[in-house]
Symmetry: C2
Subunit: 160 residues, 2 copies
DNA sequence: CCTGTCAGTAGGAAAATCCAACTTAGTGAG
DNA sequence: CTCACTAAGTTGGATTTTCCTACTGACAGG
């Protein structure tokens, strides 16, 4: 094996870790409560108290999550009064761009984690039907399954 | 406000927490390293050591994650030798059904978290183009944006 | 004056994660 | 035979996060 190099070839390269966009994304929104806060903002909550209530997140944790989302440009925090200064939260376009991620997480739960009573929340498409999301290829328009995909790495080093 | 009920209407229902499929899904795969383990399995790693190497997860944590994924039926663990007994891991169909979630997480990172060198990993669709995933409505076939969706809750209690 | 609201902070307990070392039953090299 | 190495963990303890409860400040309503 090349990667577990013996002493002659130098120190073992401890990072065979894949540099991948999934990992990068999870660095931003992968901590507990982050995606649920984003969900709440998408569903219309814009005040701290409401997000606390609807997610169940500890207040201090939610504070740090919202600050992190703000730092990454997914959320804007704007004062809506002073004395005392209060803020509301709003998703930016970048924040809204997470919608497909949440849609797929929701769909997975809808499909595999519900009882006979059905999904607690559903989304209705403008076509009138409840949304069953499918991934299509933007280039050819066809529906995509994992069998239609081939992994392409640039071959160098640890990326993959 | 109805939800913050005064004493007359009974004790404050501490759980205004939304029962939603996103939260349920995150209960299963939302902990650190879970989705990265699934990613590795999708990319072809099937041995414990390899998943450790490629994700960078602590071995003990990865063990508990794989056990949890197995308990939920996303992963199968099968012995491939005894003396000493060794196992390999494989995604079940249920595990593979997470592919759209990972696809969207990857796409978000590809779109927003890459430098000029581009994404570290890309997926090629059978049509020949690199995959740019879009969500379509299974019912009408149209591409979906968040503006085309209406939230439907059953109205009762805390679900939403 | 008393209570309640909102958006946090503070302090300390509890839980999760991380890390390095160890185990077990082998295989291959010298 | 001995040494080094492998795979799939397990163990103990340090570190880091998360959680929980209570508190703050500045106001509004009764």
């Amino acid at each position: 094996m090349i990667s577990n190099s013996p002493a002659i070839l130098g120190p073992v390269t401890t990072t065979d870790v894949r540099d991948c966009s999934i990992a990068r994304t999870l660095e931003v929104v992968g901590e507990k409560w982050s995606l649920l806060a984003v969900r709440e903002l998408m569903l219309g909550s814009d005040r701290f108290e409401e997000i606390v209530r609807r997610t169940g997140a500890p207040r201090d944790i939610l504070t740090t999550r919202l600050r992190k989302l703000e730092a990454h440009g997914l959320v804007e925090r704007e004062p809506y009064q002073d004395r005392p200064v209060r803020h509301r939260y709003r998703l930016t376009a970048l924040g809204w761009s997470l919608a497909p991620v949440l849609t797929m997480l929701r769909d997975w739960g809808d499909t595999h984690l519900v009882g006979p009573e059905g999904p607690p929340v559903t989304l209705r498409h403008t076509c009138g039907e409840l949304l069953r999301p499918r991934i299509h290829c933007a280039a050819c328009g066809e529906a995509v399954t994992s069998r239609d995909l081939e992994v392409v790495t640039d071959g160098t080093s640890d990326r993959g």
